[in-house]
């Protein structure tokens, strides 16, 4: 039990997909202007990531490896991810039209979110078993959602600040992302065993 908790925490904090591995920066910068949207994006990504980790693990173990189809890995993973994203989009339009509107183009772009594919591929690389793969996905997604929320909160506050013209907009967002990354370096070398 504690092992799983440790895995979750280390993937979420120590090896944070965004701030340590620098994956998934597109939505990180794109959908972080509003806290609500960022949390929505985080949850959508969480869903896709979890689903994709599980599906890609099954695909890998039951199809690609037995038949020696390793060269189809990226194609088939993207296919699975794309389908999961499409499913989320359909569901979201039904159950939360506001969020659907707010996320806009970034929702289908989860398909090309390298964090999702990256986690799926890393799982294969690590040779994790199903539970670990799933937890890895959940942990990464939790880390993604966490920093999305933190970053969006700070950016919401920046909306009210009189940032100098030369820093306004994307520059100050990148500076903030850098400082956030600096803060997350505090977790480096974290060993919970």
């Amino acid at each position: 039990m504690s092992e799983f908790l440790v895995l979750l925490l280390t993937t979420a904090l120590v090896n944070n997909v965004v701030l340590v591995k620098f994956l998934g920066l597109c939505p990180f910068l794109g959908v972080s202007k509003k806290l609500d949207a960022a949390i929505g994006m985080g949850l959508a990504t969480t869903f896709v990531l979890t689903l994709a980790s599980a599906a890609s693990w099954m695909l890998e173990q039951w199809l690609l490896q037995p038949f020696g189809l390793g060269y189809l890995r990226i194609v088939s993973f993207i296919l699975v991810i794309a389908a999961a994203v499409q499913f989320v989009e359909l569901a979201m339009r039904k159950f939360s039209p506001e969020l659907h509107q707010v996320l806009g183009i970034y929702l289908p772009l989860i398909t090309t979110n390298c964090a999702v594919l990256g986690v799926a591929l890393l799982n294969v690389q690590e040779g994790s078993d199903f539970l670990h793969a799933l937890l890895y996905g959940v942990g990464s997604a939790a880390g993604f959602t966490l920093v999305m929320a933190m970053f969006a909160g700070v950016r919401e506050r920046l909306e009210l600040a009189t940032v100098p013209a030369s820093f306004a907009g994307a520059p100050i967002a990148l500076v903030t992302a850098g400082l956030l990354s600096l803060a997350f370096m505090g977790f480096s070398g974290l060993r919970l065993d």
Binding site: L59, L63, F67, L69, L72, V75, S76, L79, V80, A83, Q86, F87, L90, A91, R93, K94, F95, P97, Q101, V102, G104, T162
Partner: protein
């Protein structure tokens, strides 16, 4: 090769089935955006936005080819409401400058031709043939159609006079 083709087809087919089912299960009617937007606009068909009437403006707004700040009579309030409705950011910079104006008739020049009276989209001008016309403040949108058509330039747009009723605090000096 065959295995690869078959497996990918199989995967795609399964996912397609799932998505097809989901599309049906989660089906939603697309909202009637244009008519909803048209209902938000003043409806005076004044044409200040450059579109032929509010219907045209609504269609342009819905497809995103017109800015939400296009309606001067609606003012910043409408621009914000539209921005919220359409999910876009409203740049109210240009809008804030727009002071509300109303039409006034200079009685010494007015010849009572009733042209403005007929042109006014909101029936804000009262009068009759060969009589001096006057403007009802509450109904005038400041669209300027009357000023354009007046043969003697007796109608002009002036800023709404400040009274105790509509006076308000200006923004404090920024700190």
């Amino acid at each position: 090769m065959l295995i690869a083709v078959t497996s990918l087809t199989l995967i795609a087919g399964c996912l397609g089935l799932i998505l097809g089912f989901a599309a049906r299960r989660f089906h939603v009617e697309p909202p009637e955006t244009v008519s909803e937007i048209e209902a938000m606009l003043p409806g005076s068909q004044c044409g200040q936005c450059g579109f032929p009437g509010c219907g045209g403006a609504a269609a342009a707004l819905a497809e995103g080819s017109a800015p939400v700040t296009l309606c001067p009579p609606g003012g910043p309030a409408l621009a914000r409401a539209l921005a919220e409705k359409l999910g876009v950011a409203a740049d109210l910079g240009a809008m804030a400058e727009h002071e509300p104006t109303i039409a006034t008739v200079r009685e010494e020049i007015c010849i009572g031709c009733t042209k403005c009276f007929k042109e006014c989209p909101t029936d804000a001008i009262q009068g009759a043939m060969k009589q001096i016309h006057s403007v009802m403040k509450e109904a005038c949108t400041g669209c300027g159609k009357c000023a354009d058509i007046c043969p003697t330039e007796a109608v002009s747009l002036v800023p709404l006079p400040t009274t105790l009723g509509n006076w308000r605090w200006r923004a404090p000096a920024c700190a």
